[in-house]
């Protein structure tokens, strides 16, 4: 996680594709809309946006999205165990996520980390979550476990950096 690049998302996306997704989101969906004298058909634009979003998702991201989406559906995940079924599913879902074709059985390529590591990580998550669950923190400006005040980030000028 980085905050030193203010345009687009870090590393994961190359070639400014994240940047394009962000631009599309605003330019196509937001801003002042003047109806009545607009030539362009907004429905066409919406369809195209969907198509574009698929194109700009990198292959890896898309595959991951497909897997997560599939696995988060209990019905699909308990059934879709064979390759054929997976492909059938991906075909069926193709209209909404054409890039999700490469489904795989979930456990097959997972590398497991050690239990100790996991326990430690879970503990950190839980403490971070519970610390933030207390509403007073939002106002205090200094959540527990947050940055020491003597070490502020240095984003000065970074906003212009990508310009």
């Amino acid at each position: 996680m980085q905050l030193d690049r203010y345009r687009g998302s870090p590393a994961a996306n190359s070639g400014g594709t994240g940047d394009l997704a962000d631009i599309l989101e605003r330019v196509l969906d937001k801003g002042v809309v003047v109806a009545g004298d607009i030539v362009i058909n907004l429905l066409d634009i919406e369809l195209l946006t969907i198509k574009l979003r698929l194109l700009i998702a990198s292959a890896d991201t898309a595959r991951e999205m497909g897997i997560d989406w599939w696995e988060s559906d209990p019905f699909l995940s308990s059934k879709a165990r064979s390759r054929e079924e997976s492909q059938e599913l991906s075909g069926r879902n193709g209209s909404t996520n054409g890039a999700a074709g490469e489904l795989q059985t979930p456990a097959e390529s997972e590398s497991r980390v050690s239990l100790d590591e996991l326990a430690g990580r879970l503990e950190r998550i839980e403490s971070a979550l519970s610390a933030l669950a207390s509403p007073s923190e939002a106002q205090s400006g200094q959540p527990p476990g947050a940055a020491e005040p003597d070490d502020p980030p240095e984003p000065s000028g970074a906003g212009e950096e990508s310009r």
């Binding site: 345009r7 809309v33 004298d37």
Partner: protein, 254 residues
């Protein structure tokens, strides 16, 4: 060829610096079309490219839209440097300057309000995400080697339960982040996510005074550091105030 007027955004009518961007009509200077205190930043365009068969043909080519959208954005961003600018939605094309002036005049009050709203301000976007499924898989230890169907299903159930519980906690956490960022903003919006990506927990837009940029970024950094590494906090900006100017100022669409 039918010529139309493409409007990128609205600025103050007495503005002299229109920015450097070439926009949709390279080689042609940007043209200010004023009506009272508000003016539209425009370029002439070929309407045939944006409707009917011409549009259908263009839409076949994803790079066409990318080019157009980037051109639109570059004009609005470039104008942002020298004063308030209200972005218009992509594809705001008028049959001619008289139609544009009529619109500006009719909605003058609302447009002036929006212009004031954007004065000295900028928009930042924040996306909070976490790959909860991957985390759930890690948290549920793999069972023995036997790959029986029953074991597999049990394993998957445990993973799904873990993912569900994590999702609840994560959404709460994301809401806290939004509240904390909103506290240092002039205005804030949670954006309904149309993303098929389930790892996206929250998307917010924040309108901040340019002078407060440092404070906003510092707060975001504090929040990031206070979060587990599982959470990703992506920040984009400064943007023209797109999310805070989504106003429909027209009559019925044909």
């Amino acid at each position: 060829v039918t010529r139309g007027v493409y409007a990128y955004g609205l600025v103050e009518a007495d503005r002299s610096d229109l920015g450097e961007a070439t926009g949709l009509a390279p080689g042609e200077p940007l043209r200010l079309v004023p009506a009272g205190p508000v003016a539209a930043l425009t370029h002439p365009v070929d309407i045939d490219e944006f409707e009917g068969a011409g549009l259908a043909h263009n839409l076949e080519d994803a790079s066409w839209l990318e080019l157009m959208v980037r051109a639109h954005e570059s004009v609005v961003e470039s104008a942002m440097a020298a004063g308030p600018v209200v972005p218009m939605r992509f594809g705001s094309i008028f049959s001619g300057e008289p139609a544009l002036v009529a619109m500006l005049t009719e909605h003058r009050r609302e447009l002036e309000r929006l212009l004031e709203l954007t004065r000295g301000r900028e928009e930042w976007g924040v996306k909070v995400s976490a790959d909860l499924n991957a985390l759930a898989r890690e948290l549920v230890p793999a069972r023995a080697e036997e790959s029986s169907g029953t074991n597999y299903l049990r394993q998957r159930q445990a993973e799904l339960r873990a993912a569900e519980q994590l999702a609840g906690l994560a959404r709460e956490r994301a809401a806290e982040l939004h509240i904390a960022l909103a506290a240092v903003s002039c205005d804030a919006l949670l954006q309904p996510s149309a993303s098929p990506d389930p790892s996206v927990l929250m998307k917010g837009a924040y309108l901040i005074a340019r002078a407060d940029r440092q404070a906003f970024l510092t707060r975001a950094e504090e929040l990031r550091r206070g979060s587990d590494e599982t959470f990703r906090l992506d920040l984009t900006g400064p943007w023209p105030a797109y999310s805070f100017t989504s106003v429909d100022v027209g009559g019925p669409r044909d």
